[in-house]
Symmetry: C2
Subunit: 210 residues, 2 copies
């Protein structure tokens, strides 16, 4: 029973490199021509292997989509990390608007997000676990920051921070959907700001907007 228990060798360097290339190629094609319209064979060709070979690394097309999204999510999480723990509620709410603007800058991202969200609705699907965890983490983080911010001011009585966090995330997701369907016409960032402002006026101690 050493550190490397008998059997079990882990990925080879060539495999790791291949997976990275696959995710890059997939991200490119998905953003370019859409998830449903890109065939796994094309992505496999892009990286110089067979469809079967690709499916060795990612057992299904959905798993591949998930890997692409996970890549995005980590980048997103890193960005949020720049917020200090003692940031006040107003700063957090402003960060939500800024995050939306960041998403808008990357073409195809929101479409992919909406798609993956729906995929996550299937409890048997691979995306389910990731999203379940992701939502829980996001709600907790946002709620924690709001709670901390309120405790430093005079908290409004009976404010459920987790509920506020869930609402913020819901508004963001729901508006993203409307934005995609509107073909990019909707002022997404503006709408998110309006809501953040409403939250500020109803839950922040001073009752002022953003």
């Amino acid at each position: 029973m050493t550190s490397s228990t008998r059997g079990r060798r882990g990925s080879y360097s060539v495999g790791i490199a291949r997976r990275q290339k696959i995710v890059e190629a997939a991200a490119h094609r998905f953003a370019e021509e859409g998830y449903h319209r890109t065939a796994l064979t094309r992505i496999a060709e892009d990286v110089g292997i067979t469809e079967g070979g690709l499916l060795h690394h990612f057992p299904s097309k959905k798993h591949l989509l998930l890997a692409v999204m996970e890549h995005r999510f980590t980048a997103e999480a890193q960005w949020w990390a720049h917020l200090k723990d003692d940031a006040d509620g107003r700063t957090v709410l402003r960060a939500m608007v800024a995050a939306t603007e960041r998403h808008l800058a990357e073409p195809g991202l929101i479409e992919l997000f909406v798609l993956t969200s729906a995929e996550a609705a299937d409890p048997a699907g691979a995306a389910h676990a990731l999203f379940a965890e992701r939502y829980q983490r996001a709600v907790e983080a946002l709620a924690g920051q709001l709670r901390g911010a309120m405790e430093r001011g005079t908290p409004r009585e009976g404010t459920d921070c987790a509920a506020v966090a869930r609402e913020c995330i819901a508004v963001s997701d729901g508006l993203q959907l409307q934005w995609v369907i509107s073909g990019g016409t909707l002022d997404l960032a503006g709408a998110v700001r309006t809501h953040a402002d409403r939250i500020a006026r109803t839950v922040l101690p001073d009752g002022l907007g953003l």
Copy 2:
């Protein structure tokens, strides 16, 4: 150039009956085993025809899903019609909560809705047009009722009713997503109520909650 221009005959009665049966069978199977896991062949078998025969009526599986959803949407629209035009803002907001509770009562409905929403993200897809129109109509209706209600009271200055309507719909959609992913754990109706209450406090003339 008579009323029936040459050519063009319209559906036969047998076809209409068949389509209805197909939609019923599809709705049942989709709710039962999920959209992705039900094969068109099964639905075709249920109604006693071939897969090819089914595809004559609905050119694609997505079209069929869309037909199922349209069926639900009309039922939903009829329900909303019970609201009087001169209903006050508070009544409209309460109706949103009631609508959510209605959705929760029908198993599998919200899952299908989330799925179809994502499908609508593809501009080339069949669901896109329906959802684009649906959202526009919903926003206009809600905004109109809010506007009417506010004009009868003392409207808060600078309230964009359309924006409020979009936000309400976004919250509803976004929370539905979280509800599905949570496996039904989330108190969906409660969360919608919390938001509706916040809206009431920030946009209704009296500034009171629900």
